[in-house]
């Protein structure tokens, strides 16, 4: 507790009536995100190990459309901005802007997923399925897993919009949006790594 109180920038966290003085939900989300590092670490390490071990068929590197994926990455980065603006809006008690930014974030997330579906179908049409070789398998599992996380994030955002419309997210519960935001930003930072390590580094 002394550790918590000693930091001037965290005075706002000491309002919570918990043993640590911090929000248990927020601690749980950070612990979850810490554990997610292990999950995505395993998937990225697997891809790196199998990157040059394909013995048949096309590999992801021969099919990448970097300009297209760059636009997808930009879209996901901008969704992080709209999420941060949504959190700021509810902390000010601005419910209308919260809904606008949450819908924008969900829409940008949906555009990213649409791009991923287009990329996958293009790859499959060009003969690279999940079973073509070990590299393609590792690629689809890694990027697919990330896509599932983005999809779950979109569902979470739309649920928050629904709750907000029904008046279930008062300013006092701004932290709920902040916690959902943490998850969304995490999905974004995972893509930052995937985009560089999987797509850009030859």
């Amino acid at each position: 507790m002394a550790d918590v109180a000693a930091h001037p920038a965290q005075a706002h966290d000491t309002h919570h009536q918990t043993a640590t003085g911090l929000s248990n939900e927020k601690i749980a989300m950070w612990a979850f995100l810490g554990s997610e590092c292990m999950l995505f670490g395993a998937l990225i390490a697997t891809f790196l190990l199998y990157k040059h071990r394909a013995v048949a068929g096309p590999t992801p590197h021969s099919l990448y459309d970097i300009p297209f994926t760059s636009v997808s990455s930009f879209v996901l980065l901008m969704s992080s901005l709209s999420m941060a603006l949504g959190v700021a809006a509810i902390q000010r008690g601005d419910h209308r802007r919260l809904r606008v930014w949450l819908c924008t974030t969900a829409l940008l997330g949906a555009v990213f997923i649409g791009g991923q579906i287009y990329e996958f179908t293009t790859f499959i049409r060009r003969g690279m399925t999940i079973k073509t070789n070990v590299t393609s398998g590792a690629f689809y599992v890694l990027t697919g897993f990330h896509g599932v996380h983005v999809t779950l994030g979109i569902i979470m955002l739309l649920t928050l919009v629904n709750f907000s419309i029904r008046g279930k997210i008062p300013q006092a519960k701004a932290e709920v949006v902040e916690i959902a935001g943490l998850y969304w930003h995490f999905v974004d930072i995972v893509w930052i790594i995937i985009f560089t390590v999987v797509y850009l580094i030859p």
Partner: protein, 117 residues
């Protein structure tokens, strides 16, 4: 007894505290304009990364790409996720998981011969 102890906090007090916490949290977080500035910086970094991709591949281009990746990662975590402004406990939880993942999987990659010297 007029003074409030932890046990005597009413739901109304709790709501007031939560609103106060939200407002104070807002004060400690960056402004909307700062968020937009950060997003522009991230977009510029992404453009630089894509530019580097089109250069002749070498160890330096790979290292530059990793450098920009870490920069973008750090900026999002510090500003959008507020880790720079929040409690050190959150930082330790996340950095702990991240460090463990990096160490474990670097060792795994070493063991399976990913790195060649």
């Amino acid at each position: 007894m007029s003074d409030h102890t932890t046990e005597e906090i009413t739901p109304e007090d709790d709501t007031e505290l939560a609103v106060e916490a939200a407002l104070e949290s807002r004060q400690h977080h960056p402004s909307d304009l700062t968020y937009v500035g950060i997003a522009i910086i991230l977009a510029v970094f992404t453009a630089i990364e894509v530019g580097i991709y089109y250069l002749h591949p070498s160890t330096w281009t790979a290292l530059s790409l990793l450098f920009f990746m870490m920069l973008k990662f750090g900026v999002v975590v510090a500003y959008f996720m507020h880790l720079r402004f929040d409690s050190p406990i959150f930082r330790r939880l996340f950095i702990g998981g991240l460090t463990l993942a990096v160490v474990v999987y670097t060792l795994v990659l070493f063991m399976f011969g990913f790195y060649h010297f």
